[in-house]
Assembly symmetry: C2
Homo-oligomer: 254 residues x 2
C-alpha cells in the first residue's frame, strides 16, 4: 500500500508537468522522489520516537523480516524504533528472526544492524517461543505491508505466530508503519487476499533441493494478524490503540 | 530418554551373558536389539490406534520434525498415528513443518510419507499460524524427546510455538511417544536443560552463509511445551490426560 501510494504520487507529478515537456516531467519526477525519500526518513524518525515511548526501559526486542533502512528510504520502521532505542542507550539486544523462506532477517536485518554496531542475534523462526519463555525478549516490533481500517495487519509470513506467542507470554506486540500503509478502504483482514508464492522457495534452499521431487509445498507470502493481538500501531503521526478504527482514523490528516 | 533406555537394556543383556564368553554376549546383544525393534514396531502400532481414536473424523494433521519410521524402529510415533489415519481412510492431508535449522520435516518426513503415497505438503515453519487460521489444520501431532512426570514435553525446537498456536486456534495438540520417553525422575520441564547447538547451523544453510560473519546466532536444539498446552499424551499403553502426573503414573507397568 505504501509503495503504491509513492508511485501514484510521482505519477501525479509527471502528469502535471508533462505539458512542459519530457525533460521537465523527468526532473520533476526525480525531485518528487527525493522529496518522498526525505519525508520518509523524517517520518521514520518521528515514528521511532513515538515507538520508543512505548518500550520497556531496557529493550530486548524481537523483530521479523526486514523493516529497516533497506525496506524504507533509509531509517526504517521497526528498525527505526531499534535505532532510537540504541541512541537513547536503552537497547540491550535485538533478536532477528531468520524469516523463512527468504531469510530477510538473517540476511538484511542482521547486516543492517551489524553495520551500525548494534547488538543483534539471529535465530531460526522456530526458536522465538523458547526465547520468550526464558525472558530473553521483552517486546516484539514488526513492520507492516498493509493495515486494514480496523487494525488487522498483513505482514511477512511468520508475523502472526509471533503475535500469538507474544500475547501468550504477555509481551507487548507493536506494529511500526507509516500512516500511508493503512488502507482505510479495507474494512478488515478478511478482505486482504494472501498471495501464494513459488513453492520452490520452500523446496529449494540456496539452490539446494531439500524436499523430494513430487512433494507439494505451500508458500503463503503474508499472514494477517488480527488487531486484537496488536498492542499499538506506531505511525509517524502518533500511536493508534484499541479500538483501532477510530484511533487510526483520528491520526489521518484532513 | 528412550534411546538411553534401549542402550541400557542391551548393556544389561551383555553383562548377563559375558560370563559365557564374548561370542555369546555378542549374539545375545544382537538378539536383544532385534527384540527391541520388534517391540518398538508393535508398540508404535498400538500407540497409533490409541491416537487415531482421538483424531477428528477427517484428519488434516500438522507435524513437526520427524517422528516417523526413521526416528523409531520402523513405524513411527506421530507418523504412526498418520499411518493409522491413512489405513482407516480418514487422512485428508499432512502438513510437514520444514523444521529449521536442520530441515528434518522437509527432508525426512516428506520423503517418508511420499514413499507410502500419503498426501503430504511441506511448509516453512513461519506458515503454520496462517494455515491454522484458515482451517487447513485440525490437529497437531508431534513426538517427544523427553516427557517430565507432570506432562511437560521437551521436543525439537519449534514444537512449543505450535502448541501455543494450536491452543489459540482451539486445535487439539497431541504428543505421541512411548512410555519409555517419560522420565518419572524429572518432576517438570524446568529441570530439563536446553542444549545449545552450533550457531553455524543457523548462519549457514546447506553450506551457504546467509548471516554476515561476526553476527551472533542462537541455536537452542529443543524447547519445552508446558503440559497445560498438551491435550493428551499418546503412549503404547494408553492415553494420558490432565492431570498428567497421576495419568502417566497409572500407565506405568509395575
Amino acid at each position: 500500500v505504501n509503495l503504491a501510494w509513492a508511485v501514484e504520487r510521482v505519477l501525479r507529478t509527471i502528469r502535471a508537468r508533462l505539458p512542459e515537456g519530457v525533460q521537465a516531467a523527468r526532473e520533476a519526477a526525480l525531485a518528487e522522489a527525493h522529496a518522498i525519500t526525505a519525508e520518509d526518513v523524517a517520518a521514520c524518525k518521528r515514528m521511532a520516537q513515538h515507538g520508543l515511548a512505548l518500550l520497556p526501559p531496557r529493550v530486548r526486542l524481537l523483530t521479523h523480516c526486514n523493516a529497516g533502512a533497506i525496506a524504507t528510504a533509509g531509517y526504517g520502521t521497526a528498525l527505526g524504533v531499534v535505532r532510537a532505542a540504541a541512541a537513547a542507550g536503552r537497547l540491550e539486544q535485538v533478536y532477528a528472526d531468520e524469516t523463512r523462506p527468504r531469510q530477510q532477517g538473517a540476511r538484511l536485518t542482521a547486516w543492517e544492524l551489524q553495520q551500525e554496531g548494534l547488538p543483534v542475534t539471529v535465530i531460526a523462526d522456530t526458536a522465538a517461543g523458547s526465547l520468550m519463555a526464558h525472558g530473553a525478549v521483552n517486546c516484539v516490533v514488526v513492520g507492516a505491508d498493509r493495515i486494514a481500517a480496523n487494525g488487522d495487519v498483513a505482514n511477512k509470513i511468520g508475523t502472526y505466530p509471533l503475535a500469538i506467542m507474544a500475547a501468550y507470554h504477555r509481551i507487548p506486540f507493536f506494529v511500526a508503519a507509516p500512516l500511508s500503509t493503512v488502507d482505510f478502504d479495507c474494512a478488515d483482514g478478511t478482505q486482504i487476499p494472501v498471495e501464494q508464492r513459488d513453492p520452490d522457495e520452500v523446496a529449494l534452499i540456496e539452490g539446494v533441493r531439500v524436499v523430494c521431487e513430487g512433494v507439494a509445498c505451500e508458500n503463503p507470502a503474508f499472514d494477517v494478524t488480527p488487531a486484537a493481538l496488536v498492542q499499538a500501531i506506531i505511525t509517524e503521526l502518533g500511536v493508534a490503540r484499541h479500538p483501532f478504527k477510530p484511533s487510526l482514523a483520528a491520526l489521518r490528516p484532513h
